[in-house]
C-alpha cells in the first residue's frame, strides 16, 4: 500500500508525471514517506546528501549558517517543490541546512539507490536529469534575481 501511495504521489508531481510506469516504478523502489515536526532539522550543511525530498505538505527553510549571528534563510520551499540537489553532484554533501518551518509531509528518494539505478540504466538517468533540470533552472533564475538586491535604495537620484 505504501509503495502504491508513493507512486501515486510522484506521478502527480511536475518532475515525475511524464515518466512511464516502468521508470516510475524503479524510482518508487527508492522512496519512502517522511514526516517532520516544526523546527526539525531535515538535513545539515556538509552532511551526506543521501536523499532528495518531494515536499507534499508544509514549508521548509533553506538556511546558511553565519558566525555569531542567527542563520540566514535564503529560500523557502513549499508543497510541490523538490528539496535537495546536492545528491546529484559529487561529493554529495549538502551546502546548506534545511529546517521544517511547519509540519512537513514528504516523499524522500534514497540518493544512492537512484544513482545506482541511473548507472545501471542510463536512459533512466537521462530522463531524470531532463525533467529535473527545468525545475533547477527555475530556482537558479529566481536566485539570480534575488542576488540583484532589487529593492535596495538607489543612491544619487532626486
Amino acid at each position: 500500500m505504501r509503495t502504491h501511495g508513493i507512486e501515486e504521489l510522484l506521478s502527480e508531481h511536475p518532475v515525475f508525471r511524464n515518466f512511464d510506469a516502468e521508470t516510475l516504478a524503479l524510482l518508487v523502489g527508492c522512496g519512502r514517506n517522511e514526516h517532520f515536526r516544526p523546527g526539525d532539522r531535515i538535513f545539515a550543511e556538509d552532511g551526506p546528501a543521501d536523499k532528495v525530498f518531494v515536499i507534499r505538505h508544509g514549508d521548509v527553510a533553506v538556511e546558511i549558517a553565519t558566525p555569531e549571528r542567527p542563520p540566514i534563510i535564503v529560500e523557502t520551499l513549499h508543497a510541490g517543490d523538490l528539496l535537495g540537489w546536492s545528491w546529484m553532484v559529487p561529493p554529495y554533501r549538502h551546502m546548506s541546512d534545511a529546517r521544517a518551518l511547519t509540519e512537513i509531509r514528504a516523499v524522500s528518494l534514497d540518493a544512492e539507490c537512484i544513482r545506482r539505478k541511473c548507472d545501471d540504466n542510463p536512459a533512466l538517468g537521462y530522463q531524470l536529469f531532463r525533467h529535473m533540470l527545468p525545475h533547477m533552472a527555475l530556482r537558479l533564475r529566481a536566485l539570480r534575481l534575488q542576488v540583484l538586491d532589487l529593492y535596495g535604495p538607489e543612491r544619487g537620484l532626486t
Partner: protein
C-alpha cells in the same frame, strides 16, 4: 468639495503637513492638507510633483485612498537631496504640490475580473490606492490577490495594513522576502516564485494584473504572469523616470514615443513590451 483639475499645472499649491511618520528606515509618509482651495481628486496610480521649498521638486506617487482625496498621502524614500527633504518633513511643515498627473490603474474598467496586484519594495505605494479601491468596492470584482516582495521582513511597507489585508477572507495575500533571519516563518524568494501559486485555480483569461516595482522585477513578473496565461494586454505596469515638468513638455521622461509623465506612468504592457526588452531606454 472635490475639484477635478487644478487651474494651472505649473503652479504649485501650498499644502500643510497634517501628519508625517516613518514607515521604515529611510522611508516616510506624509498626509497633506490643502491650503489653497479644495482637495483635488486623483486616480489610483497617479503622481504629484512635491516641491520642497528652496530645494527642488520630485515626482511622488499618491499612496492614499482615492475615495478620500482630502487626505493626500505620499510615501517617500530618501535617496537624494529633494527626496531626503520631503521624507524629512515634520507635522505643520509646508510643501508645494502640482498635480495629480499621469495615467492610473484601470480599476474602473476592470470590474468583474480577478485583480492580481504584484508589488516589489516601495512599488506597493503607488498600488495601494488601487488595492484600497478594489477592497472598498470588493463586490464589483471577481477576486483580489496581492503578491508582495520586499528585501527583508524589516523592509515590509505598510506592515500593519498587510496584516489586516491578510485577515480578510475575500483577499489572497502572499508576502515574500529576499532574505530573512531565523524566526521568520513566511516565504523567502523573489515574487516570481509566488506567481504560479497565486494564479493556481484562477482563469487567466479573467485576470487583470497590476505590477509595480523595480523595472527588472516587473519584466520578470510579467513574464511569469504570461507563462501562467495572463495576457500582456491584461497587464499594466507603472514606470519610473526622472520627471521635471510632468506635463509632457520638457522631454526628461521620454520613453520611446511616450512621455512617462503624460502617457504613463501606468502603461498597458503590450504597448511597451518591445521597449521594456530594450537596453538603456
Amino acid at each position: 468639495m472635490v475639484k477635478a483639475v487644478p487651474p494651472d499645472p505649473m503652479i504649485p499649491r501650498r499644502y500643510r503637513v497634517r501628519r508625517a511618520w516613518n514607515e521604515m528606515e529611510g522611508v516616510a509618509s506624509v498626509d497633506l492638507d490643502p491650503l489653497d482651495g479644495p482637495a483635488v481628486a486623483f486616480q489610483p496610480g497617479q503622481f504629484n510633483m512635491l516641491y520642497a521649498f528652496g530645494i527642488g521638486e520630485a515626482a511622488i506617487s499618491i499612496s492614499g485612498d482615492p475615495a478620500r482625496p482630502e487626505r493626500l498621502v505620499h510615501t517617500i524614500r530618501s535617496v537624494g537631496k529633494v527626496s531626503a527633504a520631503l521624507a524629512g518633513l515634520k507635522d505643520g511643515d509646508m510643501v508645494g504640490v502640482r498635480g495629480p498627473f499621469g495615467t492610473g490603474w484601470p480599476v474602473a474598467a476592470e470590474t468583474g475580473r480577478h485583480i492580481v496586484i504584484v508589488a516589489g519594495g516601495l512599488g506597493l505605494a503607488p498600488l495601494r490606492p488601487a488595492l484600497t479601491h478594489v477592497l472598498e468596492n470588493r463586490a464589483d470584482y471577481a477576486g483580489l490577490t496581492l503578491v508582495y516582495g520586499a528585501r527583508s521582513p524589516d523592509d515590509l511597507l505598510y506592515a500593519d495594513e498587510i496584516k489586516a489585508w491578510k485577515s480578510r477572507f475575500d483577499t489572497d495575500v502572499e508576502v515574500t522576502v529576499d532574505r530573512a533571519a531565523a524566526g521568520w516563518t513566511g516565504r523567502v524568494g523573489v515574487v516570481t516564485t509566488c506567481l504560479e501559486r497565486a494564479l493556481a485555480g484562477l482563469d487567466p483569461a479573467n485576470v487583470s494584473a497590476f505590477v509595480c516595482g523595480p523595472e527588472i522585477m516587473m519584466r520578470f513578473a510579467v513574464k511569469s504572469l504570461n507563462d501562467g496565461g495572463v495576457a500582456q494586454s491584461s497587464t499594466w505596469v507603472s514606470l519610473e523616470r526622472n520627471m521635471k515638468c510632468a506635463i509632457g513638455f520638457c522631454g526628461h521622461c521620454q520613453f520611446g514615443p511616450d512621455f512617462v509623465c503624460r502617457d504613463g506612468p501606468v502603461f498597458r504592457y503590450d504597448r511597451i513590451a518591445a521597449l521594456m526588452a530594450g537596453k538603456e531606454i
